[in-house]
């Protein structure tokens, strides 16, 4: 793409790449759905010496998610990028988009801890650039903020991996898991765990390490927000799962350590505090960015239960939340394109001017609340079930209680969009272009389709949860 130096050609190429990736990911998913594990040795060097790409149901589920979102968002990019990014940088944008996608997919498929770091950096560096391409000057500041925090996170991760390498002499994740129990009384294991946990938590924006996220989402180009919100944090959750349930699970390091309560506390804090902050935002993008922080809390809450139901809830919510937020940010991008802003005080009456966009936002908002027949409901069902299974009824009420906060912020949009008289500026707006509306509505419909037909998502998540809990093989 850099060679081509043409925006249109770069876009075409990016579409081809994303769709091919989706096809491959779907093929892989089908192949491992039966419980197979695909192992590919780079340069034919057998693991643990060479780098191994190892794909089980967890990896495949994630790769499918990332490539699905990428394939939809890339179509949407065309109009959105044309409006928000200077023409001479289009080819750079698509190059970065492709790099970011390959980084994220690389994380999803690799079985090697250091290779994972490399991919993490590829995706992170390209996402800093993507965010900085936002037309608001504050995008630079947001990208810088993300750069600093993201780098700290990546550094922490690599320190942790370094410690593990010193202890076990291997970088292959499966091999590491096998060797770790032998050295688990060593205190460095604990240090490694701590570094990796904090490093990854920064990347996945776990409360209170989420500070980079709202600005980055609010000021990045709309297409970037949609893409990153739906994929980047999700991939980090996967890395966390991989380390907790594959690498460290056999080492006995979690015994006698109050990790679950810490995770539960932080998750609850995310769910309530971030939702409460979201309610008071004036910028709708920021509002949904804070909502993302809260939804990540749902994911980590499910994970921290450590049960089949809990993990299933967490993993299926990866997908469900990605689809929901993807839809929301893509639709918001339509408003940003036409109006230039998504502040509440500017978009009054938008429901009349851009009916499809606004109604789509309401529908995706319902999914965020967790109304039945949407994907949000499926996640919530399993999360509450997992809480009840633990015998913690109060946690069940906490889960549903925090979704009431989502009702509040979604309804803020409803009232502004439908009850205010449109300003002259809003009244003359046209509906978003079809090339943006169609992909966005595809996501909205996905919110409902996967809320009713949960075979792939729930089936995949359930299988992934069981495979993770079974531990390394």
């Amino acid at each position: 793409m850099v060679v081509l130096r043409s925006g249109a050609a770069a876009w075409t190429l990016a579409v081809a790449a994303s769709w091919t990736a989706l096809a491959i990911a779907a093929g892989l998913f089908l192949e491992v759905a039966g419980g197979n594990v695909v192992s590919y040795w780079i340069g034919s060097w057998p693991p643990p010496w060479g780098i191994e790409y190892r794909i089980d149901i967890v990896n495949a589920f994630l790769a499918l998610l990332v490539s699905f979102i990428a394939a939809v968002v890339i179509v949407y990019c065309r109009e959105s990028v044309r409006a928000e990014v200077p023409r001479e940088r289009h080819y750079l944008f698509y190059a970065m988009y492709a790099l970011c996608l390959s980084g994220l997919l690389g994380i999803a498929v690799t079985g090697d801890a250091f290779n994972l770091f490399v991919f993490l950096e590829i995706s992170s560096l390209s996402s800093y650039v993507l965010i900085a391409l936002g037309r608001d000057r504050r995008a630079l500041m947001a990208a810088y903020q993300y750069l600093i925090l993201g780098t700290i996170g990546a550094t922490f991760y690599v320190i942790g991996v370094g410690l593990l390498y010193l202890l076990t002499g291997t970088l292959n994740l499966a091999d590491m898991a096998a060797r770790l129990p032998a050295v688990s009384d060593h205190r460095s294991v604990l240090a490694a765990l701590a570094f990796i946990t904090v490093g990854i938590s920064l990347k996945l924006a776990l409360f209170p390490l989420h500070l980079w996220l709202p600005n980055a989402y609010a000021y990045a180009p709309s297409a970037v927000t949609a893409f990153l919100a739906a994929t980047a944090t999700k991939v980090s959750v996967y890395v966390l799962l991989r380390f907790y349930f594959t690498v460290f699970s056999g080492s006995g390091i979690f015994d006698d350590r109050p990790l679950a309560p810490i995770w539960i506390t932080l998750s609850l804090a995310a769910m309530f505090i971030a939702s409460a902050i979201a309610i008071f935002q004036n910028n709708v993008k920021r509002l949904f960015a804070y909502s993302s922080v809260a939804q990540i809390g749902y994911i980590t809450l499910g994970v921290s239960f450590g049960s089949v139901y809990g993990l299933t809830a967490g993993i299926v919510h990866l997908f469900n939340h990605a689809v929901t937020k993807g839809a929301l940010f893509m639709l918001l991008g339509g408003i940003a394109l036409r109006l230039g802003t998504v502040r509440f005080d500017a978009i009054g009456g938008i429901g009349r001017a851009m009916p499809f966009t606004s109604f789509g936002i309401v529908l995706a908002g319902l999914s965020l609340i967790g109304v039945p027949a949407t994907v949000g409901f499926v996640s919530k069902w399993y999360l509450v079930l997992a809480a009840l299974e633990r015998g913690d009824a109060w946690l069940a009420f906490a889960v549903v209680g925090s979704s009431l906060l989502a009702v509040v912020y979604v309804w803020r949009f409803v009232e502004v969009a439908y009850f205010r008289e449109p300003t002259t500026e809003v009244a003359r707006l046209r509906e978003a272009p079809l090339s943006m509306l169609v992909p966005a509505w595809l996501m909205v419909l996905a919110c409902f389709y996967f809320g009713l037909d949960t075979g792939v998502t729930l089936g995949g998540a359930g299988a992934a949860a069981e495979s993770l809990l079974r531990g390394p093989r």
Partner: protein, 495 residues
Amino acid sequence: MTAGTLIVGAVAVPLAGAVLIAAAHRTPNLRETVTLVTAGLLFLLVASIVPDVLAGGRPHQTLLPVMPGISLAFTVEPLGMLFAVLASGLWIVNSLYSIGYMRGNGEAHQTRYYVCFALAIASTMGIAFAGNLFTLFLFYEALTLVTYPLVTHHGTEEAKRAGRLYIGMLIGSSILFLLVAIIWTWAIAGTIEFTPGGVLGGNVSNATMGLLLALYVFGIGKAAVMPVHRWLPAAMVAPTPVSALLHAVAVVKAGVFSVLKIVVYVFGVETISGMTSVDWLPFVSGFTIIAASIVALRSDNLKRRLAYSTVSQLSYVVLAAALLTPLSVIGAALHIATHALGKITLFFCAGAIYTAAHKTEVSQLAGIGRRMPWTMAAFTIGALSLIGVPPAAGFVSKWFIMSGALQAGHYAALTVFVVSTLLNAAYFLPIVYSAFFRVPGAGAGGGDGHGHGHGEAPWPMVVALTATAASSVALFFFPELPLQLARQLVARSPG
């Protein structure tokens, strides 16, 4: 057509109607024709399922499996049958009335109104025929959401506030309590299918049972048991036909219907009748009956008075269900029907008075019976039905409920019914008296100068309110169909 197709059709027909109504938005006459035809077709569909159910059949149709063990499925049982016949039948009448009302008052956004109405009926059918708690919950939430644009129809600041209360209380309570209760039921019983005799028997402790019941009763905000009743009076800002069909029939009845259905098919009357932890329910619902009646007595706004009367009457059904005797459960089922007919008549009258005379307060109604004899005659029948005086249908259901209270030996409940009957009389009869026997005095002068001009409301409205009043009387003389259905409801649950 198989029974399964008929059931799915009952949900699909109003949905398709909604699409057609939206498509016909340019030609109001065609749009209203579509509404009426859809309503008629739906009623025929629903009615055609009745013989099968009466013969003991329980048509079942699974649409699609949603999660392992949980599917979107419909099963028709007697109670749902009764509710569906009622809602679909009254939709025809109400559509007729709507046409008169919406045109008579020159309301805006009429297409949106008819579309949402059709969607609301589709959701109601889904609730009536739900085969399990998931399906019930899905359509329950859908009903709240599609009626929101109806409640906030006028788009005023007041409507917006009412809408907030409406969404906040209904969605809030259902997510916070009902959803947890459903998942809890699933966790305990491993099934959420509606099963005769209940699914919770045998493995639930006394305390858990009481807690679960509380989650269900307060989670179903549509049943408006105090303190989750505030949304209902607030929702009266909606156009009157909305208040009539939705907030006297479809929405609120969906609430008490769900409570009754859950008591019968999830808890099982037999299972909880021995449990002490559920004894609070008669007192809470009894309190609601009395307290709401007193508020109604003190309200001068006619629709507000009717709304609080609804809150009170809904708790009749809840209390009757809570008495856990066969007779009271029959009474509860019947009361869903009889109160619906009575209350929709009263709302129709209130709307007719508003359209013809632009009066909204009780104190303005002196002498209005002379100008609007049909309307006020219907009002009288509706009021008698709610008080429980023959020859109006309300007497029948009240008879069964009170017999049930006697059978249970629950004298507190009996007292509640007697006191509430007196209160009902106290807040309805003065309206009837002043409408017919007082001359419009100087005190009611506000509309007087204007008042000389008006007669009855537009004819579709008068036809509609006469029809519902007449069916209220008819139901008194011919209660066989609902009675048979209600009896089957009890016969199915052992004991």
